[in-house]
């Protein structure tokens, strides 16, 4: 089960066996268009109403007007790096890759799986076409997420590593850090920086944050699977808020009022006390956070850098204590679902979809479009609507949002291939092909397979993947994709809303000051310190332990490895500066 190592990246905190939707460009973002300044958008597209139009923080969120994009498309370019452009119409496929990347041999691939395994090659037209286009035999080992870490370890123990090795240590595979540190993977820096990178025109479009945030101990061991760099926001039932007369709740007091009204105000109108403010599902010291809690209280992003260069952990700050006290009061007042303590991610999601809770959070795009969480609520309650909390502090000033790392893993090449430059170049060319830009002929295949077999055109002329397409594509190339773009073929305006939200979120974004810094103790002890966090805050918030027990727990965190992690990160910071 995934742990957010509370000291490393915060954005990949995802629950069990779940890929962050926010980050799955291939399947979501692309299937998913522009936010003019939200107020403007609302005028231009009457179906869109944004509760946060009037929030002070949203003032910075201003997207542009439509311009001509590649392949005759219309796009709204994002004004901020990390938030993708929105396509208002699909491009006419254009050729973006010259030649065939592979040399006819076999490429062994190890990747993570979230979908059912694809049919065997001889019954899989997508797989056959992929191999024809790449010019290689694509020998892929797709390992389901729960076994992904163990399978990685098995490869390391065997010593014979696949040519393209998908690395994502945050997905329950911290062993990969160890293997990287021990030299299992090739340092790709000479191939993917400076002039060398220009051999791979698609990889050259990758934003700097994705390269930087995918380094380990300062070394580029893999090519990042680029994702938007948007921090998650909490989403709530805006239809309920309006019913309570609490539209657009802002700041701790109003949020509290809203969450309590969900429990006591009978928002579903059935007369029974069967609704609550919120579920929860996270692990670690922010296990009851649901994004909005720490954001409103401006809790630091894992660590705060003091003036003397020393580090203070989030849990050692006053902001953190205020947040825990706030959540404890919420629980006592009944704002949380009674079974919240034991919830898994899917429990929390299901209660929100079933209309039992008024607030939930997960990857940003999960709330946009017909197949989203919001869409699924609307299947039961057609008038339901959701929108995001833009965090505001108790003082009325904007809160903070924790930026995503901007990648979902990276693809490494084993160190044993280091002597074979031709082979390394071939493998990078293959990745370059897989990173074809949105709307290109190559990308259209990678995305939608063969038209008429794996996908069909909808009324608007956009390709929509069918069941056979989804089954045959599976996770064959799930480990890698090109620059994210937002396009919802069924309704491009959904994308506009998504981009507007992304810009608003990004404008409040802060980074983890220790992002990319290496601490051996964190890798070794992270899981148990995270567990200590979950246990501590759950006991305090549910009232099983007194609030004062927080001090003892923080002391325990320090003595069991927290101080050691701090020391190592401080040293790493000094070295890198």
């Amino acid at each position: 089960m995934t742990q957010d190592n509370d000291v490393t990246s915060r954005s990949i905190i995802l629950p069990t066996s779940r890929k962050p939707r926010a980050i799955n460009r291939r399947s979501l973002l692309r299937t998913a268009s522009v936010g003019a300044a939200a107020a403007g958008a609302a005028a231009a597209f009457p179906r869109i109403t944004f509760a946060q139009d009037s929030t002070p923080a949203a003032g910075t969120a201003a997207a542009g007007t439509p311009v001509a994009g590649p392949g005759g498309s219309q796009i709204i370019p994002s004004p901020i790096e990390g938030v993708p452009d929105v396509y208002l119409s699909a491009p006419e496929p254009f050729v973006s890759y010259d030649g065939v990347p592979g040399s006819g041999g076999t490429v062994r691939v190890f990747t993570i799986g979230y979908n059912p395994p694809p049919p065997a090659r001889d019954q899989n037209q997508y797989w056959q076409e992929l191999e024809r286009r790449l010019g290689v035999t694509w020998e892929v080992d797709i390992t389901p997420q729960p076994n992904y870490g163990e399978k990685s370890a098995a490869y390391f123990a065997g010593g014979d590593l696949p040519d393209l090795f998908y690395l994502n240590p945050e997905q329950n595979a911290s062993q990969q850090y160890q293997a990287m540190a021990q030299g299992a993977f090739l340092d790709l820096t000479p191939y993917v920086t400076g002039d060398a990178l220009q051999q791979f025109p698609n990889l050259a479009t990758f934003p700097q944050y994705a390269w930087d945030n995918s380094k380990f101990q300062g070394v580029q061991y893999g090519v990042p699977n680029v994702q938007p760099n948007i921090g998650n926001l909490g989403f709530y039932r805006s239809d309920w808020a309006e019913r309570f007369g609490l539209a657009n709740p802002q700041g701790p007091d109003q949020v509290r009022e809203f969450l309590l009204a969900c429990t006591t105000g009978d928002p579903n109108g059935n007369g029974n006390p069967d609704t609550w403010g919120s579920g929860r599902f996270e692990n670690g010291w922010r296990a009851w956070d649901n994004a909005i809690m720490s954001q409103m209280h401006r809790v630091p992003f894992n660590w705060r850098v003091n003036e003397d260069g020393s580090l203070t952990n989030q849990i050692e700050t006053d902001e953190y204590r205020q947040m825990i006290q706030y959540q404890r009061d919420l629980f006592a007042a009944g704002a949380y679902h009674p079974d919240a303590a034991g919830m898994t991610f899917s429990d929390a999601q299901n209660t929100f979809i079933a209309g039992e809770t008024g607030h939930h959070y997960e990857g940003f795009p999960s709330f946009f479009g017909p197949s989203s969480v919001t869409g699924r609520i609307q299947l039961n309650e057609p008038t339901a609507s959701t929108t995001y909390f833009l965090p505001v502090g108790a003082d009325g000033q904007p809160g903070v949002v924790y930026n995503g790392v901007g990648h979902f893993g990276y693809v490494g090449i084993p160190a044993s291939l280091g002597g074979d430059e031709e082979r390394v170049l071939e493998l990078l060319r293959i990745l370059d092909y897989l990173a074809s830009p949105f709307g290109s002929e190559e990308d259209t295949f990678l995305e939608s397979g063969i038209e008429g077999v794996h996908s069909a055109r909808n009324a608007d002329g956009n390709l929509v993947l069918n069941d056979q397409g989804r089954a045959e594509r599976g996770d064959l190339i799930g480990m890698f994709s090109g620059l994210p773009a937002i396009f919802y073929p069924e309704d491009p305006q959904i994308g506009v809303r998504l981009q507007t939200g992304g810009i608003a979120s990004r404008s409040l974004g802060i980074d983890d000051p220790t992002q990319g810094l290496y601490s051996a103790a964190n890798i070794e002890l992270g899981a148990q310190l995270t567990q200590l966090g979950t246990d501590t805050v759950t006991a305090i918030i549910t009232g099983r332990e007194a609030f004062e027990s927080l001090d003892a727990a923080i002391e325990e965190w320090r003595s069991r490895g927290g101080d050691q992690v701090r020391q190592e990160l401080q040293e790493a910071m000094q070295q890198s500066s």
């Binding site: 123990a157 160890q178 079974d339 303590a341 034991g342 070794e524 899981a527 567990q531």
Partner: protein
């Protein structure tokens, strides 16, 4: 069911003769039987005995990429960690408490159910009940706990009923004080039916003429139970009890992991969940191996000890 034969000592036969035949001849004579044994034997050699050799990584700081041999030796460090860690002690205490409860309540439950089933005369009704009580065994713990949550949870059926009547909710599923009895009840609900299989098989092996004779001698139901039925299956009960001793330190993982957050580690941390967080999540295979090894050795002693006791007091045993 090889165990039945071991316990029941029914597989005797003309032993003296067997031993006078040369081994080669005996092998050839029973070749087909040996052939049937082979796959099972291969399984145990490959997946049970061979991996035992890997236990030496308990004395190493094993890193998969570095390799089995190149990883550094660390002496008894992994074992020391085990005995100095307060969390491990908590996990150990919880595990033993839960296992004792299981032994007292969950172990005899299938026996009682088997006796009840055995007393049903209608073969059809018996089969119908058997099928129903087997079912929960095939559900995974994820489903079982979701079902219990739906019924007993804070927003479950019972509490919703109470809340709709303006009554207070009762906290069953996230109450640390109720956790241990709760898990024992869950285990019983899930596996009591399945556990009857072996007892029912043993019950059918009791010679019915013994009952007839007992009835003729004027024995009532209670006497027949105590003097015919129980002695008839005692060897099986002892056998299962001895084997049960081997798992005194393993509660299993899923049932506890799934409910641990709801009640907290004070009540629900067991050795299996402890090893999961400490060893597997951090990729500390050596530590996991050390825990497994200690547990295996203790379990072996428990089995041997229980066997010795059983032999001493009842004359029945496993070895």
């Amino acid at each position: 069911m090889a165990t039945l034969r071991i316990g029941g000592k029914s597989s005797s036969g003309p032993r003296g003769k067997t031993f006078s035949t040369p081994l080669r001849k005996r092998l050839w004579r029973d070749r087909w039987m040996y052939l049937f044994i082979l796959p099972g034997l291969a399984y145990f050699l490959l997946f049970i005995y061979l991996p035992i050799l890997g236990n030496f990584i308990a004395w190493k700081d094993y890193a998969p990429f570095v390799g089995l041999w190149e990883s550094p030796w660390v002496g008894w460090a992994n074992f020391e960690l085990l005995f100095t860690d307060p969390d491990f002690q908590r996990a150990l205490i919880n595990t033993v408490q839960i296992e004792i409860l299981q032994l007292v309540f969950a172990f005899p439950a299938p026996l009682a159910l088997a006796l009840l089933l055995h007393s049903i005369m209608s073969e059809r009704l018996k089969r119908a009940i058997q099928s129903i009580v087997y079912l929960p065994h095939f559900l995974s713990w994820v489903i079982v706990i979701a079902l219990w949550q739906q019924i007993f949870g804070g927003a479950g059926f019972i509490n919703q009923l109470l809340a709709n009547q303006d009554m207070d909710r009762i906290n069953v599923m996230s109450n640390p004080d109720l956790f241990k009895p709760l898990v024992v009840l869950q285990s019983m609900w899930k596996d009591v039916g399945w556990g009857t299989i072996i007892f029912l098989a043993a019950l059918t092996r009791i010679d019915t003429t013994l009952y007839e004779a007992a009835v003729i001698d004027g024995a009532n139901g209670r006497r027949r139970l105590l003097d015919v039925t129980l002695p008839g299956i005692m060897s099986i009960i002892i056998l299962l009890l001895i084997l049960r001793m081997g798992s005194m330190f393993s509660t299993g993982f899923e049932q506890y992991f799934l409910q641990r957050n709801a009640v907290g580690p004070e009540a629900a941390e067991v050795i299996d969940t402890f090893v999961y967080t400490r060893a597997f999540q951090s990729g500390d295979w050596s530590f996991a191996t050390a825990v497994g090894l200690v547990r295996g050795v203790v379990a072996a002693f428990m089995i041997i000890g229980a066997n010795w006791l059983a032999k001493r007091f009842t004359g029945e045993g496993l070895l």
